[in-house]
């Protein structure tokens, strides 16, 4: 077995599994802060009930993200040592700052956020929630700086085959960072918004009419409706930025083989790299030229420009990028229609029709579909490069045997499938349980916080402080 393709599949599987959870937690942290803020402002216990329900899902998602993230930091070394050996002088400080400014912050305050409601003042608990949300976002910032730099590197020089930093400002604020960062943060916002809306819709279908469910439902649907037009706009800008810096990726996204004007927008096609053409094209005339160049006869780069004279292919695999892009955009439009119709009913009509609830439930995971499809477009679209123009993916591979990678790949896959199944099962069951029991809460004590349940005899005798 080829250790190269196996290592790529293994890292791809790991990063795919990993991104599912940060995509939820980055934005869910801010949604929780919003619930907490509304509770602090209004004193309405329903906001706090919404917080307590969603903080459980946050905790579970966070743990899944942490354990799968550690895996990746080790795989840099076990499978791809050439990456750090070549660009370590740039990737290193960025990763170090992620650990120092984000990982510790979120991990330490997570404990207080989850279990500290009765142990610290309300103000400190709100602060802990803020610091966790801030930490997850900082983590996204640093890792997207590194990822963007791998797509559009600048601010470095190569000495003896190793990249050395020359301008840190240029490295951090590299050309694709603003677009990639906004695109990813909005993707996270949409993923969390649809998860909140979809799970609340499930609770609604199960007969749950509690105030906390409605508050979460309205928050999710409204947030989605606000973010999706912003995301379409940011995505378009990101695409134009990619056209400027990585034209081969855009050529693959459009399934365009020859550089020319009046390029149609392909709604459907089967790109075939053997014949270097598309089968079964269904297209809108001049569409791609209009989107990318804002002119009907605008010239769009073609894939055939990225084949070396000796026949070496220098563009990414076409079909994966082409279809990944269509799945992402299609999901995005489904999000647009559903969230706007949902907002219309919730705000204007003050009702939630049953068919709409049935549509929101499966869309709970739509953010995952769009995010993964989008990441496949951008990461597969960078191939054959690991760092554009600096390091090819194949050159970063370590001296490992294919059989070894295969066995660990199978072990990881089995672990991830079981965990993903368990995660979805537990999240759905939390919603079902909440729908059945309603908003049960302990009676508030004199401080206004719900009373601490009496310590059972085998519990500890000493107080916390």
């Amino acid at each position: 077995m080829d250790p190269f393709i196996l290592s790529r599949m293994q890292f791809g599987a790991n990063i795919t599994f990993h991104i599912l959870f940060p995509t939820i937690t980055i934005a869910l942290g801010w949604i929780l802060l919003f619930f907490k803020y509304r509770y602090n402002k209004t004193g309405d216990q329903a906001w706090m009930d919404a917080y307590f329900f969603w903080v459980k899902i946050f905790a579970l998602s966070f743990a899944m993200g942490v354990v799968s993230g550690i895996t990746m930091s080790f795989q840099f070394g076990t499978n791809w040592p050439g990456f750090m050996e070549t660009v370590g002088n740039i990737a290193g400080p960025l990763l170090a700052y992620e650990v120092l400014t984000a990982f510790f912050l979120e991990a330490v305050f997570l404990g207080i956020m989850l279990f500290g409601f009765r142990r610290v003042s309300n103000r400190v608990h709100t602060l802990a929630t803020f610091l966790v949300a801030f930490g997850t976002t900082m983590s996204a910032f640093w890792i997207l700086v590194l990822n963007s730099w791998m797509h559009t590197p600048q601010g470095y020089e190569i000495i003896d085959g190793i990249a050395h930093a020359t301008d840190w400002f240029a490295i951090v604020f590299n050309p694709s960072l603003p677009y990639r960062l906004s695109h990813m943060l909005l993707a996270s916002g949409l993923t969390a918004a649809f998860l909140v809306a979809g799970l609340s819709a499930l609770r609604w279908l199960l007969g749950d009419r509690t105030a906390s469910m409605f508050k979460a439902l309205k928050t999710g649907v409204t947030l989605a409706a606000i973010l999706i037009p912003l995301q379409i706009f940011a995505g378009d800008l990101h695409g134009l930025n990619t056209l400027e810096h990585q034209p081969a990726k855009v050529a693959a996204m459009e399934g365009n083989w020859e550089t020319k004007g009046n390029v149609p927008l392909l709604l459907f096609a089967l790109p075939d790299e053997e014949t270097r053409s598309n089968k079964f094209e269904l297209s809108i005339p001049n569409g791609a030229s209009l989107i990318l160049k804002h002119e009907a006869d605008g010239v769009v780069p073609g894939l055939n420009d990225f084949v070396a004279e000796d026949g070496t292919i220098l563009h990414p695999p076409v079909a994966a990028v082409f279809w990944g892009f269509r799945i992402m955009v299609g999901t995005g439009f489904a999000m647009l229609f559903l969230s706007w119709i949902g907002s219309y009913y919730l705000w204007r009509k003050d009702e939630f029709p049953k068919p709409l609830a049935y549509l929101f439930v499966p869309m709970a995971l739509s953010g995952w579909v769009a995010t993964i499809a989008g990441w496949y477009v951008t990461e597969i679209g960078r191939q054959p490069w690991l760092v554009t123009g600096v390091l090819k993916t194949a050159d970063a591979l370590g001296p490992i045997a294919g059989g070894m990678v295969l066995s660990t790949f199978i072990a990881y896959l089995a672990t991830y499938f079981i965990l993903l199944g368990a995660y979805i099962f537990v999240v759905v069951r939390l919603a079902v349980k909440a729908a059945k029991s309603g908003d049960k809460r302990p009676e508030p004590d004199a401080t206004g916080k719900p009373a601490l349940p009496g310590a059972t005899p085998n519990q500890a005798s000493l107080p916390a402080e």
């Binding site: 740039i90 930093a165 537990v426 005798s461 000493l462």
Partner: protein
Amino acid sequence: MDITLIYPHLPLIFAGLMGISILVYVVLDGFDLGVGILFPLAPAEDRDRMIASIGPFWDANETWLVLAIGILLVAFPAAHGEILTALYLPVTIMLIGLIARGVAFEFRAKAQASEKWLWNRIFFAGSLITALSQGYMLGIYTLGLQSGFQAFAFGILVAICLTATYAAIGAAWLIYKTDGQLQANAISWMKKALIFTLIGMAAISIITPLASDRIFEKWFAIPEIIALAPLPLMSGLFFIFTYWQLKHLPDETERFSLLPFIGIVAIMVLGFAGLAYSFYPYIVPEKMTIVDAASAPESLLIILFGTAFVLPVIVGYSIFAYRVFGGKATELRYD
């Protein structure tokens, strides 16, 4: 002041930072893993309290491993590839152990009573696998990343020793964080684990210099042997002190319940210092020195600035979190 004057010292500074991170990791996550290893020994009614004693901390504790591997990755990229490709399989096994341990916490908290047994077992298995694979890797690394039966056997020995050490510090944490029958059980667990720790550390101290002439030279030449003698002697004293302390616990006033923990931490620090002395100046034993493996000084300096500012803050808020959840462990609740 000319900032470039610090350049020649950067590799050593970062080796020191990495060493500190690893040490903090084995102490902090050591007690988390130890509690997991001891899990099946406890009766069912004590298990929630064992989880509660580490629940708010495990995630932050594990982050020290990320920092340690991060420093290896960023400061010594050449060594990082060499070490991790050589340890490919045990690293993977450890990662799956860490995954299992980490998610078991969360799933267990949300499981119905009838499913808890499953997550209990996964929690135990994940902790045990992590501890064993870390010990195995330490053994292989100590012998210079060799393969073959001898290295394998030594790896297994260190795996058992480190697992016993984790069990000991886990028990020490439970002595500090709990009371009643669970505390009494933890005292007897720690006594047994401490004996295995002692045997393991003694075996490693004897075998390592015999396996490596270079390490033998470093320890047994004159005058080094005199300067280094306090290391094993103090370790021995701390073993005796900790064991003696355990004989006098539990203690009604709870004034001494932290002492076994301090004792085992001291033993771990001394053992770690001995290992670090043996390896120096190598980062890949016998193959690559700290200086050879280091990144460009400009990049290291950028990280050093960040570390100098941020690390004290991290230590500060970590202490705050331990104080928030200080005292004896009580039930963990989200609401």
